[in-house]
């Protein structure tokens, strides 16, 4: 655990000083600030919309940050040869990946945390209060970001940032649309074997729609955050899902990365 923490804390430090993270973070804060004040004076002068827009932005920027910073995470280490200084010390390659991933997650969480504080501050300022649903939604975003970072780690353990970015984006889209894809498959194929196979296949993808339970995902209904359906139990098992899924992804990454020549 010692080496993982040492690596994670330096990855975190390096990341929060990086201009990319800075600028995306500052831009995100601005957008939330402006976006929500605009929402307030718009037609839907409704706290429901304020929360949905705010959380939507938080989620979007969370994913952007995860993809942007995650894609070059391992690639840059190899490209700049900084990895030579690390892996020639008594650090396993799996530990290296875990440390990098945790450090990056922490830095993205920091930016998301700041954005969330701003969102809550704004809600309080506008007298709408900050209900538990807001916190629950924010937690779900953190879980999703964790999964996405693990996926970028997987791809970047063997490919270039561009390919990693494309593959990750593809997986995000699929993961978010899984219920729709399932629906399409169910209507298209009648054979049970086919349905079974498709179902299994879809299970492999991260069930990212679990982390955005607003919008039309639930039986085609517009479900807002203000609805009470996101229970702490739901939060608990989605957290577990995120941990287990990311853990498996990390293990696969480690297996791929283990025998790779670092030239």
């Amino acid at each position: 655990m010692g080496p993982i923490l040492a690596l994670a804390s330096n990855t975190y430090r390096e990341a929060i000083r990086n201009k990319v993270l800075y600028s995306i973070g500052i831009f995100a804060l601005l957008v939330i600030l402006v976006g929500n004040f605009l929402t307030d004076i718009s037609l839907h002068n409704d706290k429901r919309v304020l929360f949905d827009v705010g959380i939507g932005l938080l989620s979007t920027f969370g994913l952007i940050l995860a993809v942007f910073t995650g894609t070059s995470l391992i690639y840059k280490e190899i490209d700049r040869k900084t990895i030579y200084l690390i892996l020639t010390k008594p650090v396993g390659r799996a530990q290296f990946l875990a440390g990098k991933m945790l450090g990056l997650t922490a830095s993205v969480y920091l930016v998301l945390g700041l954005m969330f504080v701003l969102l809550v501050g704004q809600s309080l300022f506008m007298g709408t209060g900050a209900p538990p649903q807001l916190y629950k939604a924010a937690l779900l975003i953190l879980f999703e970001v964790f999964i996405v970072i693990s996926i970028t780690t997987l791809f970047s353990s063997f490919s270039t940032p561009f390919i990693t970015g494309m593959l990750t984006l593809g997986i995000i889209v699929i993961g978010r649309l899984l219920p729709d894809l399932k629906q399409i498959i169910l209507t298209k194929y009648q054979a049970d074997a086919m349905r079974d196979l498709a179902d299994r296949l879809l299970q492999v993808f991260p069930q990212l729609y679990l982390f955005v339970p607003n919008g039309h995902d639930f039986n085609g209904q517009y479900v807002s955050l203000t609805a009470e359906f996101v229970t702490w139990g739901y939060i608990g098992w989605t957290a577990l899902y995120a941990l287990v899924y990311s853990g498996i992804i990390l293990m696969i990454s480690a297996v791929i990365f283990r025998r790779r020549d670092l030239t």
């Binding site: 010692g2 080496p3 923490l5 040492a6 690596l7 804390s9 330096n10 430090r13 390096e14 000083r17 990086n18 700049r80 040869k81 900084t82 990895i83 030579y84 200084l85 690390i86 892996l87 020639t88 010390k89 008594p90 650090v91 396993g92 025998r259 020549d261 670092l262 030239t263």
Partner: protein
């Protein structure tokens, strides 16, 4: 259970082979290291020499576990290099080390120490000691993207020494350093040896190697061409001598030709190489009879450079 051996070799390399695939669809195969074996003795300074592309960096990367050999094995203090444990007692300075842009040298060294479970005041003291010793204390808290090449080299050495390693491995440690820096590094290496450490480094700077190495290996095209103590390599075939003669080079040359000896022009006249089978007295008499001044007569020694060049060219011809 194995009984404890009195002296465990710091490094044993056996039949190491590594090739890379390059080119369109990885169709071309380049053998970077083709069957390399040698081992280090505890407490020695070992120089790995060879022309560009000889396979020095590839060898050092296999030793440190960055790349994996196609064949053969590497053991560090008895542990196969693929094991994490093998890296506990080594320090590695890569060729042209590069760091994280936004971290300071102190932060990097703290992390390096953290990997070895060093922490607290003991770690801080070690870090400050290394910065002082390597002359980068003034830049310890500067982001490393602002470092000059020589400063990066020094920071690289600092991180390699953080765990007080018993085997220090360096890839071209002298490159990028000014003459003072090179002298300092030579002293650091000798200091490590004085404390019983083993040092393995690759280099092109033969004068430094000649000065500090106990043994050297010359590598060309991925194969070992020569290995031995610097003294023994230099003394090989040294029965001949060199005669420095003053005066007209044309006359010196004419006499040398009649004696069937090689000669070259020099600043003061000519230098005649007296081969091992020639009689030195006869040669001397010939020049004295011609009334040419004898300026110097010395035992002919090969230089490391001449061995290096000869081996590189031999390897090229053989290929």
């Amino acid at each position: 259970m194995k009984t404890a051996k009195p002296a465990q070799s710091p490094l044993e390399i056996r039949d190491l082979v590594k090739s890379f695939r390059t080119g369109f669809l990885q169709s071309k195969k380049v053998t970077a290291v083709g069957g390399l074996s040698f081992s280090l003795e505890e407490g020695e300074i070992f120089g790995l020499l060879g022309p560009n592309g000889a396979g020095k960096t590839t060898t050092l990367k296999m030793i440190t576990g960055l790349i994996f050999p196609d064949k053969g094995e590497v053991k560090i203090f008895g542990h196969p290099s693929a094991e994490v444990k093998a890296r506990a007692r080594i320090g590695f300075l890569p060729e042209n080390p590069w760091f994280y842009d936004y971290l300071t040298a102190r932060e990097f060294l703290r992390m390096a120490g953290g990997i070895f479970s060093l922490r607290g005041p003991a770690l801080e003291k070690r870090i400050n000691g290394l910065f002082d010793q390597l002359g980068i204390a003034h830049a310890a808290d500067l982001p490393m993207r602002k470092y000059s090449k020589g400063m990066l080299q020094r920071a690289g050495l600092a991180q390699a020494l953080i765990n007080d390693p018993d085997l220090v491995i360096m890839d071209e440690p002298l490159s990028g350093l000014d003459p003072i820096g090179r002298r300092e590094l030579r002293e650091i290496i000798l200091g490590l040896k004085a404390r019983g450490k083993t040092v393995l480094f690759s280099s092109h700077i033969l004068s430094d190697v000649e000065e500090i190495c106990d043994r050297v290996a010359i590598l060309a095209r991925g194969r070992l061409r020569e290995i031995g103590s610097v003294e023994s390599l230099l003394d090989m075939g040294t029965n001949g001598a060199e005669l420095e003669v003053g005066g007209d080079p044309e006359r010196i040359g004419a006499i040398a030709d009649t004696l069937a000896l090689e000669w070259v022009r020099s600043m003061t006249g000519g230098r005649v190489i007296i081969s091992a089978d020639a009689d030195t007295a006869t040669v001397l008499r010939a020049f004295l009879d011609a009334e040419l001044p004898i300026l110097e007569l010395k035992r002919h020694r090969r230089s490391l450079e001449s061995i290096f060049v000869a081996q590189s060219e031999k390897a090229k011809k053989e290929a």
